[in-house]
Symmetry: C2
Subunit: 526 residues, 2 copies
Amino acid sequence: MRRDRLLVAVTLVTLLAADIHFILLPRLRTWYQLPRESCSCTDSSLENGAAATVPWTTSQNMTEQGSKLEWLFRHPLYNIRLPELGPEERLLQEDELMNYCKRKVSRWERLKKIYIEAAAASNITIPDHPVTFDPEASWLQFHLGINRYELYSGDDSSIDRLLRDMQTASVISADFTPDEKALKGACDCSQVVKPSGLHLKLALKLQDFGKAMFKPMRQERHEETPENFFYFVDFQRHNAEIAAFHLDRVLDFRRVPPVTGRFINVTGEILYLTHNEELRSVFFTSPANNTCFFAKCLYVCKSEYAVCGHPDLLEGSMSAYLPGLSIAPRISIPNPWIRTYSFTGTEEWEVNPLYCDNVKKLYPYNSGNRLLNIIDMVIFDFLTGNMDRHHYEVFTKFGDDGFLLHLDNARGFGRPSHDEVSILAPLTQCCIHALNKAMTSHRIKRSTLFRLKLLAQSEYRLSDVMRASLSRDPLTPVLTEDHLQALDRRLGQVLRTVGKCVKKLGEPQVVITDFAESSRVTTGNR
Amino acid sequence: MRRDRLLVAVTLVTLLAADIHFILLPRLRTWYQLPRESCSCTDSSLENGAAATVPWTTSQNMTEQGSKLEWLFRHPLYNIRLPELGPEERLLQEDELMNYCKRKVSRWERLKKIYIEAAAASNITIPDHPVTFDPEASWLQFHLGINRYELYSGDDSSIDRLLRDMQTASVISADFTPDEKALKGACDCSQVVKPSGLHLKLALKLQDFGKAMFKPMRQERHEETPENFFYFVDFQRHNAEIAAFHLDRVLDFRRVPPVTGRFINVTGEILYLTHNEELRSVFFTSPANNTCFFAKCLYVCKSEYAVCGHPDLLEGSMSAYLPGLSIAPRISIPNPWIRTYSFTGTEEWEVNPLYCDNVKKLYPYNSGNRLLNIIDMVIFDFLTGNMDRHHYEVFTKFGDDGFLLHLDNARGFGRPSHDEVSILAPLTQCCIHALNKAMTSHRIKRSTLFRLKLLAQSEYRLSDVMRASLSRDPLTPVLTEDHLQALDRRLGQVLRTVGKCVKKLGEPQVVITDFAESSRVTTGNR
């Protein structure tokens, strides 16, 4: 009998221990953001051909309370002071923007009045949400902060406000995006692939007159892109949009406009609020009594393309709009490493090993930072697994040296088990001896490389800081653990690729110093 | 130590017993088709309002070797002798059919020659498979056997031959079906829903000049129809086509043309063999290096609609073609209980409780068996869960009393947990006192009711006989256990519905005797 009792006791203790270890502790870790590991060894699997160590990697601040993410953002590498910004280095002047917005608000109020009257005549009641225009509104502050180096600064508190506002502010109107409108009536039967009906996004106007692009959830977090899908017909994933924003910030690029998750009531926040008859007409009730709507009835409405609330609530991403094109024009430039958008075609870069030299001869890649910016972009895309970067955008105001906007990241994070090395082609292909000695020969910015190396260290491990960053989103968990682990693996691959290049050409030919180390003393506060 | 040994021995014996019970025995049962249960109790959960017992339910033959399926087919209820068939009661005369086919074969040989020459001029090699025309070919025998009562008789051995031929005979040509061809160029933008790109079927010609319709697999067996899908955009399931053929035979209807599963090599048996340029042009290689093709590039080719081999083999269903419309015309008649094919509409039967009386007044439902045939069809559709029966077809030769063809069953078996009772509307709605005494008042054929009751008994349980029947298909398991269990549950529901009607109106008003009981002595051999 006593032996039996012992057995029962041992079983219970084991269960309790397992519960503490596997359930309670991880939960506590999440709540209090305890560090998972305190080991500070560097990852020996990375080739150390590239600039041997990252500066300032001593863990002088490690004892402080705070998550890895906070440590990361306090790291001197993340607090390199920008040169003082002249007025021409800011995208918008305050007066100009405020006047522009006031005009927009009064136009909106005028049109709304006409619309509500017209609707009332047809016995449709449109709720009248008054716009509260506030010059301190987070989205205006975001727009004012855009400069020639970045969309927002690391210590810009308006970004957190903007994320909160996009999560909670009342929606006052909904419409198709200009993209979707452009599709209307287009009937080019020679087009092989595009447009796909799976693409669906809406522009939502918020109470403070800010605007966000809403992309609804189309796929469960664990679902992977089917192996036979081409990248250009892959689903658009709302969680990929959210995760890409966080990754871009963690990489200290700040070239992705703020994105947050949100549940939208498709009836109350879209159907009842839209002034667009056509959008109203694509709503229907599904057999399961959920409210659904189509992207666009391009030729025929296909209900396998519809998205549905449960019964009204629909999960999605909200991306902050950039300033309108009339006030802050942008141009869209084809990616030199563009992929074929047909089933059989091949692009030159896929067959010509000297393709990079050709690119380097061409404007705007023949001088300045453009090619280095492209390398930043492909590293970002390789980490997310996004193969669909056919174009990139820049603000025309900042000329050829302006940073590249990393817009439209919804086709990343499709297959965590697969690393699409072809995305790194610009990095690998440009790692050859320049035929012409006069040509730019650098392949990667030192600031980028140092941050990547930092994120490969266990104290700042990319998956850990991403997990911490994403845990602040209302839709957490935004990514599955598999996707987070993939980030670490891919980061290692990027560093090995750079390492090989350094081995082949020597560091001075590969890494360009793009910042002054003396700026290390800044202490930005986030 | 001895105690430990005992423990090890007990564990091993337990594992062995479990292995025998859960692995070996079920396998043996499948191989030798041992009966699962020998209990002969009747299902007491069924209401017994309807004709109290099934005749000849004594288990006199139960001791015989053989599966439940064999017992079922030997049951006198499944061996009711048809009246002697006059020549006018057969669909086709032998001479007429043979001449027709010989003409078709020579036309085919002629066209093929021209095609092969033309292809050779463009450097395309088309393999030349000679047609072996044999008057004894199984598909010809199937066509010759069609009569005014059924597509084939229960003891027709050519059906098993036909199934085997469709599984193994060489494919000599592939083409779109006329349905798919009709879609071409159609650009009616007012159509809300159809056609859907998910629909894909091909006509395959076999070595013996027989023809089968190939529907590829689009969904895994366990995948269910998403809850927000309308029935008219649901996937077409190849396994539903196969299962429907077996169910129809198990119900002794024999109104579904033979269907079998088969793996087709999309390269060798479609791409290389088709004479249709357009079909050839929709083939492509997927990123995973599988050979894929589209249904039809109606406006744009959407690769999310493509089907792919692995890398070439593609699972699908092969349905035997009926004789051509020129030799055996059929008409397609809208189902009086048709559903709305829009998102918001409602059909009259959904709102008018007296709808059945209206139908009964109209030709051809105002006399003869047509309404009873409709009831058979809705019971069949309710069992499979197919909501998409917008039309039914009959051979014109047999006039109004010919049997209804149950074609196109690929939208059944979508959701095993759900019973769509609205499919039974004709049965429930017609169970009211006829307003006009002169009207037909019967609701179900006695032969159908008896067979349903038989299949509700444990000796002949529907799920068991279906499991046995489907195990003969090369793609076994064709249905998941959940779908098989659903059949039993739905059968119970049909019987309860009939029972309630009998309680309300009395048996003579509900059940029509459609066979002479004296015919019980037949001993058909299958």
